[in-house]
């Protein structure tokens, strides 16, 4: 079976579900709103991160998007109908992942730009320079996409949106805000920590902006591979 019709079908499925469109809007709103608040507060000392502080919140919406898009297949026998239409499971899952990634990437890049403009307007001269700022905007788009894909892969393994969110949300909140602040080292290699290095002006850990995104990409690739493996192995 060719890939394009399968991708088109998955895209129709995503844009005809209101909760999914809603979580994409939430990525933008949450990131921009929390970033603007943080910029105004200016307690954050890292100039770039004070602009992109809200990504920590926006990524929860991106995770919700990736989770919901895949979880909608694991209810009421939807997956059986889907796989009856597209029996090549790898191809189908690749189409699903692409249909998840592209809208998040577009939304994430847009969100990054808006956040940067708002942050520079609020911070003025104390804000990051344009080169650094644009790196942050692109990084914001890529990071959000990788988080959505990580969630999508995990959902295919766990076969449930509730299970995925109840693993990922506490993990992000606790690991990022509690453990992450206390220790560096291993915690820096966790997907959301590694992916957010690109949003900082200064990076003291082992990872730089792009190597950080590469580590996050490895996590997403691992989750997607596990999801594809589980999908191919199990009965639908």
């Amino acid at each position: 079976m060719p890939f394009a019709p399968v991708l088109h079908a998955e895209w129709i499925k995503i844009r005809t579900l209101r909760p999914l469109v809603g979580s994409l809007a939430a990525v933008l709103v949450a990131t921009v709103a929390f970033s603007a608040l943080a910029s105004a507060d200016a307690e954050e000392t890292d100039p770039l991160y004070s602009v992109f502080f809200g990504v920590s919140f926006g990524q929860i919406a991106a995770i919700a998007f990736g989770t919901t898009a895949v979880a909608s297949e694991f209810r009421g026998g939807a997956l059986r109908l889907t796989l009856a239409a597209v029996p090549d499971r790898r191809r189908w899952f690749a189409a699903k992942a692409t249909a998840v990634a592209l809208p998040v990437l577009a939304t994430g890049l847009g969100t990054g730009l808006v956040t940067l403009l708002v942050g520079k307007a609020v911070l003025g001269d104390s804000g990051p320079n344009w080169t650094e700022g644009l790196r942050g905007a692109v990084g914001c788009g890529v990071h959000l996409t990788l988080m959505a894909l990580f969630a999508a892969g995990l959902t295919a393994v766990l076969r449930s949106g509730v299970a995925t969110l109840s693993v990922l949300i506490p993990f992000l909140l606790i690991v990022s805000f509690v453990i992450g602040d206390m220790s560096s080292g291993v915690a820096d290699l966790l997907p959301d920590r590694a992916g957010q290095v690109v949003l900082h002006s200064a990076h003291d850990g082992a990872l730089g902006p792009w190597s950080g995104l590469a580590v996050a990409a490895l996590w997403s690739a691992a989750a997607l591979s596990a999801g594809a493996w589980s999908l191919c192995r199990r009965d639908a």
Partner: protein
């Protein structure tokens, strides 16, 4: 002409055999009723045919090929498995549109099947607002979307109102008349008798019968004759003398088992017993099925272990 061929199909779940060396065929131009109690392995067999579950051993092919090898499978095979497969937040139309696009089915087919299943008026409503009967119709619409030569429907009459049941009966007969191979599972005997012309009966994963409906009933149960008279005593004596197995019902009519009206009619006419009513009674599919399962239970009964 495409048919379904199931050969030695076996599926085990953790040591329990859901489907046990099942072999049967579904021929084009017929509605094949797939009968058996709940848990007999009907749905599992359908999932195996569609390549959704992997068989432990054996094969299921469609037109000689495994389902997973078909190109644009919805154009060859249409299936209804779960009425809940459509997402509640999506409209019926969008649900079908995504399916059509995935298999490069022309967009106008979406409207055609919505019309055919009587959902055109509610096509833009979200599936969440549908009754079970409407969801069932949407599932059937999805099965018919690619104008397939082979149709598999798992309990399609579930949740349908009386009008819907008449509709599906007609639909199934039409599909077969157009030369399609139609497999319809059910646990309702008399409903199946109303549309099927061939039967595949399973019990505990095994094939119990594979025969045309009429043949199956006649092989298991002989016809009966119902007769009413003004002189029950004379009639009773006459029937007994001629070795008929007859009994009188509470309302005064007599039932003669294993007999034909031609014989009984002549017999009572010659004896001059007045007749008020003489009717041939065909055995029903339900009776034949129960006769089969009773025989099967006796045949397979194992000594109980303490």
């Amino acid at each position: 002409m495409t048919s379904i061929d199931v050969r030695d199909l076996t599926k085990e779940y953790g040591g329990r055999r859901a489907v046990d060396r099942l072999t049967f065929g579904v021929r084009p131009g017929h509605v094949t009723g797939f009968l058996g109690p709940n848990g007999a392995g009907k749905s599992t067999t359908m999932r195996l045919v569609l390549g959704l579950d992997r068989p432990t051993s054996g094969t299921a092919t469609i037109g000689g090929r495994a389902y997973t090898e078909l190109r644009d499978p919805l154009r060859r095979v249409g299936a209804l498995l779960d009425a809940g497969a459509a997402h509640g937040s999506r409209s019926a139309r969008d649900h079908l549109r995504a399916l059509a696009v995935s298999n490069r089915i022309p967009a106008h087919r979406v409207d055609t099947v919505l019309e055919r299943t009587g959902l055109a008026a509610v096509a833009r409503r979200r599936v969440r607002t549908f009754s079970l009967g409407m969801r069932q119709r949407l599932g059937i619409a999805a099965a018919l979307l690619g104008d397939p030569e082979v149709v598999l429907l798992d309990e399609p009459a579930n949740g349908l109102d009386p009008e819907g049941i008449v509709w599906i009966r007609t639909l199934l007969r039409d599909l077969a008349a157009q030369g399609r191979a139609v497999l319809v599972s059910s646990h309702l005997m008399n409903e199946t008798a109303a549309f099927a012309d061939h039967l595949v009966i399973v019990g505990r994963g095994r094939l119990l019968a594979d025969a045309p409906v009429r043949e199956f009933i006649h092989a298991r149960l002989r016809p009966r004759v119902r007769i009413r008279t003004t002189d029950p005593a004379a009639l009773g004596g006459l029937l007994t003398r001629h070795g008929h197995d007859a009994s009188q019902d509470a309302d005064g009519t007599w039932t003669v088992r294993h007999a034909r009206v031609d014989d009984i009619g002549r017999l009572v006419a010659r004896a001059g017993v007045p007749v008020l009513e003489l009717t041939a009674q065909e055995a029903t599919l339900e009776e034949a099925y129960l006769d089969l399962t009773a025989a099967e239970a006796e045949f397979t009964a194992q000594p109980q272990e303490a």
